[in-house]
Symmetry: C2
Subunit: 232 residues, 2 copies
Amino acid sequence: MQMSVATARNYVPESPRRTAQVIPAAHRFAAPDVSGLAGVVLHYARGTEIVAEEDPAEYIYQVVEGTVRSCKLLSDGRRQIGAFAMAGDYFGLEARATHGYAAEAITDVTLRLINRNAAFTAAGQDPAIARTLWEVTAKGLDASQRHALLLGRKTALEKIGSFLQEMAERQGCDAEVELPMSRQDIADYLGLTIETVSRTMTQLESAGTICLETSRHVLLRRPSELARLSLC
Amino acid sequence: MQMSVATARNYVPESPRRTAQVIPAAHRFAAPDVSGLAGVVLHYARGTEIVAEEDPAEYIYQVVEGTVRSCKLLSDGRRQIGAFAMAGDYFGLEARATHGYAAEAITDVTLRLINRNAAFTAAGQDPAIARTLWEVTAKGLDASQRHALLLGRKTALEKIGSFLQEMAERQGCDAEVELPMSRQDIADYLGLTIETVSRTMTQLESAGTICLETSRHVLLRRPSELARLSLC
DNA sequence: CGCAGTATTGATAGTTCTCAAAACGGGTGG
DNA sequence: CCACCCGTTTTGAGAACTATCAATACTGCG
């Protein structure tokens, strides 16, 4: 009755690789935000699956450079991207001992891997670390709830507006945005189809709100209009 | 262009009261799960607003009895319920110093209030408490991400199926569910309208999957069918 | 230059929403 | 105990937004 096999087109065929390049020990460093926790820095090529859904959660990841998508799949291939992790963001820190979502490199990425058990042990000895782990998780929860509002109650136009504004904010520029992800990624993040994303972008351009320099490079002509669209 | 004033019908007119009844000190107790943290137990009448969006986050709440909805509003009244908190569940534990969502009593509820600062202080001294605070938050994050998948990628039928199954699981019974919330609450939780919720329920009943004893009391005739619908 | 993947645009269908009205249920007061 | 009221739920008819199917442009790259 519903979209059975049809929507399987949301499935992204790229079969992700799973090879990481080990970086020399000299490059290891302790992040400023999780003081006391050292981490190994690794590189992953664009398209690589960093963790798969249900993988044992061995590490907590912090993005040093690049963009990572975390996503969940439905059995028929429909995909929902829960978040994009960019420089400074963490992912992979979860309640259960297995990952609840997959994480894939959208661009070439540099990640700092922190052993989960080591982190918990350190948190048990240093309240500051415990507090940081909690804050990282709590901020993720806040973002996820804001995202739920978008998914459940916003129109396509409002979703795209919110998305562009979010990306602009995260890049610290309110006049210009560089999108590291494909239209399919945006669609799966916003709960839309790739066609609707494309059409809505075009619609915003026709209205003079944005200008699509290229499909991945967007000028925000009227940020106030985007703010009005995102509605909160 | 989009739903402007129209969707304001999602707004729930009940103006929530904000009075709680103080329970005698004899009823205070330390919860088993956050050992070491005492809390004041309060009662809130059905319909009461327990915390408002942007209220200063003074307390962490644990539901002793009853059901609470946590929700966010869009400026035009569209509402998204992020979660239903039922016996044992926590809410109000957030990254920022203000609440990111409102919490309202769906039924008469009994809550245990834990002072936020006290909790953080205790967490700084007792790693077990710190760990528990983190776990509560992490589980909320996991639930929110699963919910995002539902909101972004499931059909109305799948949403209702998932919802009934979730409620059945939380009530520890796979043959029968008591719904403490209205159709409007269900709609705002699933990102649907009240009419679609009603129609879909009827559709499931016609198909013999469920039986609506009353609108709030549902018999699950074919749990396996519901499981198939929830798709994960 | 041509290929392959990605993005845009077009035409149409369909699920869900909107507007509207009727049915239901619970509580109250006579 | 029953009629009445009010809020909730269900049902109906039609519109609208977004998805689907399909074809055409792009873009980066070998």
